[in-house]
């Protein structure tokens, strides 16, 4: 493995896999070997719904740089959204 750096969080929302939307239940976040990205280690995101079975999964594998950029962009966009909504 070989890092075994992985966390799981409960989430709400929707994901789309195999042409179908499904309600999300969990997100797995890991820094470990990717399945597809040409990297030894990647930031792996798995958006899943455990109650629907292992196939209900949207997988994303990012370079560490891309993952950090995504994380900061998400936070910035969320802040803008909150500001626009007066929160």
């Amino acid at each position: 493995m070989c890092t075994m750096i992985a966390e799981k969080l409960q989430v709400s929302g929707s994901g789309k896999a195999r042409g179908r939307w499904f309600p999300l239940g969990q997100t797995y976040v890991s820094y470990d070997h990717p399945f597809h990205a040409p990297l030894e280690h990647a930031l792996n995101l798995d958006f899943v719904n455990e109650s629907l079975g292992p196939g209900s999964r949207v997988a994303v594998e990012l370079t560490p740089e891309a993952a950090r950029a995504l994380a900061t962009t998400i936070l910035r966009v969320l802040d803008e959204g909150a500001k626009a909504e007066g929160r």
């Binding site: 493995m1 070989c2 890092t3 075994m4 992985a6 966390e7 799981k8 969990q26 797995y28 890991s30 470990d32 070997h33 399945f35 040409p38 990297l39 030894e40 280690h41 792996n44 798995d46 899943v48 455990e50 079975g53 292992p54 196939g55 999964r57 997988a59």
Partner: protein, 254 residues
């Protein structure tokens, strides 16, 4: 290796074996046809799961004359594609070392029960499977006759790396290793790093254990995986397989 005028046949299929705790788990069995007696191998899959590469590897071992079994170490965790199951198990922190050792013992018992198996059994794995193979060689209740560790990360672990699933660093069991060990590693690997491999090798030397390690330049993690271009290192892979056949031929065959 078969001669061109010899008979050759193989049977490969999914079976059920009794694993750790008496649980029934799936395994892929590939065996050469014939009376034998054949040596046998247990293949412990890597963190990406019980995938196509392991089935192909099992058939390759069978082609080379080994009755070979590869258990689904994630069988209790559900069923789906190998990737989906691997993602699920990874999020749970991985399988426990004790459970893997119990599953391997179930496979060893199954192999030794077969009338065409010589009784000699080796264990091999890549990535986490290499680490697990080393653990099995050190801790199996039934024992194996040889072990092949291909770039097993996490043999050397710091206190912060330990977890409920992996409570003891495999290197700490080295005193219990009593069979020959073959280790194949890449210089560009980050898990295990060359420094970690050197620590492991020093411990083997200190305890006077039989081993041979090969560190390949220009190879990283998973250099056998031809289906993964970023990892595959053709020269190292070809030589690595030859090292495996030579090693197993010396310690399991005959």
């Amino acid at each position: 290796m078969q001669e061109t005028d010899g008979y050759e046949g193989m049977l490969a299929e999914t079976i059920t074996v009794t694993g750790d705790g008496g649980d029934q788990i799936h395994a892929y069995l590939a065996r050469p046809l014939g009376e034998g007696p054949f040596p046998a191998m247990v293949l412990l899959h890597h963190i990406p799961g019980w995938d196509e590469w392991y089935r192909e590897a099992a058939r390759r071992y069978a082609h080379h004359g080994y009755v070979t079994i590869s258990p689904d170490l994630y069988c209790r965790d559900g069923h789906g594609s190998a990737e989906d199951m691997a993602a699920k198990v990874r999020a749970e922190g991985g399988v426990s070392d004790d459970r893997v050792i119990g599953d391997a013992d179930g496979c060893i018992a199954y192999l030794r029960s077969l009338p065409n198996v010589s009784g000699k059994v080796g264990v091999m794995g890549t990535c986490s499977g290499g680490r697990h193979s080393y653990l099995v060689a050190c801790r199996s209740a039934l024992g194996v006759d040889a072990v092949v560790d291909c770039w097993g990360g996490g043999v050397v672990m710091g206190p912060d790396d330990l977890s409920p699933q992996r409570p003891v660093a495999p290197i700490d069991y080295t005193a219990d290793l009593n069979v020959p060990l073959l280790g194949l590693f890449g210089e560009n690997d980050r898990s295990p790093t060359p420094e970690q491999v050197a620590i492991h090798e020093a411990e083997l030397k200190r305890l006077n254990k039989p081993y041979e390690f090969h560190m390949y330049p220009d190879a990283g993690h998973g250099f056998f995986y031809y289906h993964y271009p970023a990892a595959y290192a053709a020269e190292a892979a070809v030589d690595g397989w030859e090292k495996i056949w030579d090693f197993l031929g010396q310690h399991l065959a005959g």
